[in-house]
Symmetry: C2
Subunit: 422 residues, 2 copies
Amino acid sequence: MEIIVHKYGGTSVGTPEKIKSVAQRIKKVREAGFEVVVVVSAMGHTTDELIDLMQKVTDSPDPREYDMLVSTGEQVSAALLAMALQAMGCPAVSLTGGQAGVVTEDIYKKARIKEIKLDRLKKELKSGKVVVITGFQGVDSHGDIITIGRGGSDTSAVAIAAALKAQVCEIFTDVDGVYTTDPRIVPEARKLRYISYEEMLELASLGAQVLHPRSVECASIYNMVIHLRHAQKDIEGTYIMSPERILDSLDAARDKEGGKMEKKEAVRGIALDENIAKLGILNVPDRPGTAAKIFGTLAKEKINVDMIVQSIHSQGTQADLAFTVDRPELKKAVEIAERVAKELQAAGVVADSDVSKVSLVGIGMVSQPGTAAKMFETLSDAGINIQLITTSEIKISCVVKAEQGKKAVQMLHKAFGLEKVA
Amino acid sequence: MEIIVHKYGGTSVGTPEKIKSVAQRIKKVREAGFEVVVVVSAMGHTTDELIDLMQKVTDSPDPREYDMLVSTGEQVSAALLAMALQAMGCPAVSLTGGQAGVVTEDIYKKARIKEIKLDRLKKELKSGKVVVITGFQGVDSHGDIITIGRGGSDTSAVAIAAALKAQVCEIFTDVDGVYTTDPRIVPEARKLRYISYEEMLELASLGAQVLHPRSVECASIYNMVIHLRHAQKDIEGTYIMSPERILDSLDAARDKEGGKMEKKEAVRGIALDENIAKLGILNVPDRPGTAAKIFGTLAKEKINVDMIVQSIHSQGTQADLAFTVDRPELKKAVEIAERVAKELQAAGVVADSDVSKVSLVGIGMVSQPGTAAKMFETLSDAGINIQLITTSEIKISCVVKAEQGKKAVQMLHKAFGLEKVA
């Protein structure tokens, strides 16, 4: 029998009514002849409430106890969902991460999954039950409860799906799928039927927060198809899979629809990140080790640096270094940058939090060299000045003035014809 | 190093502030040179809230999933208490029942504890940590979470104390200790310094709901001293222990206080149970098997029967049977009694919910035969009619009209001089 893995986020199991509605959906899939494994997050804001409670007890919680505490949220929703299924006459059992055989590294709060021991899971499936597993957690080699980082339930689901060689990992959420861009910015934004792992990874880390990036990474390693879809609607969402599979699917669709499918576009999505700030270190002596010194120090202080641009002065002995950080970390980043700038005898540090980052994403861009030029031209025509540029094989990002970010996305969406993307 | 086990109920860990106050107390005991193991209940009304949530999902929850659900409450409080201890510089670790080695029968919701595997517990104690364990739960032979019945945290604490051969099991609650009777009824009621397991068992099952009866039973088997005391006050409460130990303690106190200790009274406490109802089955044919038929049927329907009195008619071929049940179960009990009465060709069933039960408890009563007579005389003098009487070696119970219950307790408390009991 084919296995399907479902994953439901906190919003989808936020109330007893929603839990019952989710149970109905699962029951239908079971009755259609599939074995179903379900991974659940904690109900609604449970995890945040537990953390609030914790902060009233201590400022510096021990990571082990943190994991012990927050892992209870998923246990509650898993038990309730199993009960709801049983109440509908659908045999079910809930398992904690540990009971389900999810073994992690011995690192509290942000472990990676090491392996999934399938004995219990397979036994329960064989006995005809839907198995509901607490997401976001496993046990370490000592049997202690370990969580795998916020949003980790997506990763739990993909890892379990991969271990079980499931047909698909369906991730249910409160959006219809992955869009060409945020529909609140561009009403014509289209839902993508397919997107590759690489594109999804870029979009996820660029602020399209529909899927945890680690889950996409895990899916790409095991070539597991993710179907991202709406928990309350009975429509298809977006399939996240390898470019080869996408081509096969497109070919199949083209055959079926008699060649009506659109030509695959180079640009698949546009992301806007409004949570960034820009720093510049001016006149840095251009000698080996300076970049390592600057970014090594920032990394040691857990400052996440995104874009890095180094421009060489004409005289060739000094360079300006510009980079972006998450906006809430700007103050700390400036302090560190000023300290390092002094050590390096740079001229000084400038900071600007009034910026946004606009990115084009698409694995087809690598073979269409005109994309970057078209992007710059579009922004220029719209009177939008570009402050920083970085490019990768599948992404071009530009930093612009914050107030121009949304306009940039709208212009680019239109220029690249994304309202027609399949 | 001597081990002391603490147990804190839901009220004592009901808020982050209370958790911190409990942590302070534990820290002091640790610093006084004891190894401390702490057993906690769920915070405040957590368990009830989880059950409310559950009832919105299903009317007939699977016991396994019920246990999976409600066991999360203790996990939250255990983790928070461990964090609070750590924040005060006191090394601590929280363990689930399973991690602490509490192995139960394979019976969900009301298992008994089979054994406690001490490896992990001893390892953590040896490393200098206070160990905080979730009460009310363990795991079965399959590693599934099992709860041991409402109020079971008391039993967890005593069982763990017994397994560790702890010096004492201190049970912290929101009362000062065990009183000669309910101080709300008799303001002169005195806190008992000592009470035997048997007396405590009777008082506990008679409505003095300060301690779970199973915990007392477990303590008596392993001769574990329970110290029942107030969580927010730094005063001694009541020691629950064997009669031999009580005598030793009294002798020691007498020696110390120069003979000022009172003579040990036959009656140690008076309980009032206002939650009962009385049933009578009239003219039951007096032949073997009728009582078995009646009470067997009630037991099968889970009706808890307390006092049973059979009175023989003068002609000797018929008897009247009277018994008491919990008041909320009266309706169901009457239905069953009427059905059985018909089968047995008895004359009929009478029921009365307007009654209370007053009980004297004391292990010294067995050697003082005048106690029962004095009780009946006292009630008679107060104009209180006795409807049913049952006696055991350490208890005499009388059913009286509900409105006279409190007065009966007040009169008896005075008549037996309980305001002077030690």
